[in-house]
């Protein structure tokens, strides 16, 4: 099977600063879930930003479905079928829940299909259906999180990139969020996940990608990474010792 995303020798960094990631390679096939783990500052989030065009790569190639997308604008890359959920809560606070969901189908020309997708998203997240006309900034944290995932459902991307989904969430919400991610993965969408909570992230993934100092250390099936004694001590921290 051919690669959905093929990233080769990628170099990226911010502003006039040094390179944050060096010669990074990453491939993902349809319906795969990969979790990138590594210590703080390893460049995990930077990889996602460079794929999605939020950050322009300095060099290297990024191909999506065989098409070169490196250096394209974020909105163009999104329209190819890549959805990015950044760390910060990505809602439009002064818009209603319905308007937020509608933004998920913004670039869709077919209005009937758009309606269907929004309808489907509301069915999957019934709590939002009860609050369609509420300003999303007034939702609770958990509901805002649901809105972000519901909107991603409405986008129906081929590849979804999720940056630190559990960051700053209460334990109950972490479980809920990983449930959303499992739903996304089971619907056939490929997922690349960056997760500080490496243990939980690897559990949700098929493959674990270990990064350090902007470089790929190795990539293995997720359960093997979980068993790897060195990784357990280095990156999994307290969770591993239990």
């Amino acid at each position: 099977m051919t690669n959905l995303l093929d990233m080769r020798n990628l170099v990226a960094g911010y502003g006039y600063g040094p390179d944050i990631i060096h010669d990074f390679n990453l491939q993902i096939k349809k319906s795969e879930v990969k979790c990138i783990i590594g210590p703080n500052g390893a460049g995990k989030s930077t990889v996602l930003k460079a794929i999605t065009g939020v950050l322009k790569p300095r060099s290297g190639a990024v191909e999506f479905e065989g098409k070169d997308i490196a250096g394209k604008e974020a909105y163009q890359i999104m329209r190819q079928g890549i959805c990015f959920l950044p760390q910060e809560r990505a809602i439009f606070p002064n818009m209603t829940v319905a308007e937020n969901l509608k933004m998920g189908t913004y670039s869709l020309q077919d209005k009937r299909l758009a309606e269907e997708r929004i309808h489907h998203a509301i069915e999957t997240f019934p709590v939002l259906g009860e609050r369609l006309h509420q300003l999303s900034g007034t939702l609770s944290g958990g509901q805002q999180q649901q809105l972000v995932y519901a909107r991603a459902f409405a986008i129906q991307p081929k590849l979804m990139l999720i940056d630190e989904p559990s960051l700053g969430l209460a334990p109950a919400l972490v479980e809920q969020t990983f449930q959303h991610i499992a739903n996304i993965a089971s619907s056939g969408i490929a997922v690349i996940l960056v997760e500080q909570n490496a243990f939980r992230g690897l559990e949700a993934a098929d493959y674990g990608v270990v990064m350090d100092l902007g470089k790929l250390v190795f990539e293995k099936p997720a359960n093997e990474v979980l068993q790897d004694q060195r990784i357990r001590e280095l990156y999994l921290g307290k969770a591993a010792k239990q």
Partner: protein, 290 residues
């Protein structure tokens, strides 16, 4: 009682014109965080377009509203491409844009003064000196018409932002630029178009101003602070806030003018500016900007 109502109605009519004058300013700030101090001189530019169309071919200033809007919008596109596109529209340089647009205002002021001199002008269509009576209430037609046209344009703007696809994209960009990009909004295009719309609104306000106030190029210095006080009270970036801020301050300043002294009416704007910045810097409807 009747007299109070009279003053309030005059204040409201003028308030809607003020609201139109600041709507473009607050739109541009909302989307790009550009504090456009050149906005008032763009209004004067629009006033000159209407003035000359009236003098040269006798075109009624209300009919030249769209023309003044188009001319100033086009000027806005040129300014945006020359000055703003590279850095200033990135939502991170608000402080820099104050200085940048201040300089720009001086340049446009200088160019206008070079060609047209700082003499007071006003377009004088037949209705400019007329008035109508509703019962005992007297309304000068110039203020009535300009108020009505302003309401129409602001309503059109609000409907455009609320319901049109592009309007929704503009609102999304002003609320969360990265997210807008990530759902497929062409943010660069949104910025350019919002800037053009904001300048077009300045131009249309200029056409109305040309027969309501006498104007000359340097008049804009006096308007900068007044317009800032209106948007600061309403909340920078909020159109609703700008309209409400403009109506409140316009009515209050009319009341002060009628019952205390016209000399003190302008003070209302500056006092409001101080008080709002001290106690509620985000204004009535604004959000705190980090």
């Amino acid at each position: 009682m009747m007299q109070v109502l009279q003053v309030v109605i005059l204040g409201l009519a003028l308030g809607f014109v003020y609201a139109l004058m600041v709507s473009g300013l607050t739109l541009i700030f909302g989307v790009m965080r550009i504090v456009n101090l050149a906005h008032p001189i763009l209004i004067i530019t629009g006033a000159f377009v209407s003035y000359w169309l009236f003098i040269l071919i006798g075109l009624d200033p209300i009919l030249s509203v769209p023309l003044a809007a188009i001319v100033v919008a086009f000027l806005g596109i040129v300014l945006y491409k020359l000055v703003f596109e590279k850095d200033a529209a990135k939502q991170t340089y608000s402080e820099m844009t104050v200085l940048l647009t201040f300089g720009m205002a001086m340049v446009i002021d200088g160019i206008l003064a070079f060609f047209f001199h700082n003499t007071q002008r006003i377009t004088s269509p037949s209705y400019a000196t007329d008035a109508i009576f509703i019962g005992e209430i007297f309304i000068p037609t110039a203020q009535l018409y300009s108020g009505l046209v302003s309401v129409t344009i602001i309503t059109a703007l609000a409907l455009f932002l609320k319901y049109s696809n592009f309007g929704v994209a503009i609102r999304a960009t002003s609320q969360n630029r990265t997210s807008a990009e990530l759902v497929g909004v062409n943010v660069k295009l949104v910025c350019l178009v919002s800037f053009a719309i904001g300048c077009g609104l300045a131009g249309s306000a200029g056409a109305l101003v040309s027969f309501v106030f006498s104007f000359f190029p340097s008049r804009h210095w006096e308007w900068i602070a007044i317009m800032m006080s209106l948007v600061v009270l309403g909340g920078m970036g909020s159109i609703t806030g700008a309209v409400i801020g403009a109506l409140i301050l316009s009515v209050v300043s009319s009341l002060v003018s009628a019952y205390y002294s016209p000399a003190w009416s302008t003070m209302v704007f500056f006092l409001a500016l101080f008080v709002v910045l001290l106690f509620r810097p985000q204004g009535l409807f604004g959000v705190r900007v980090d």
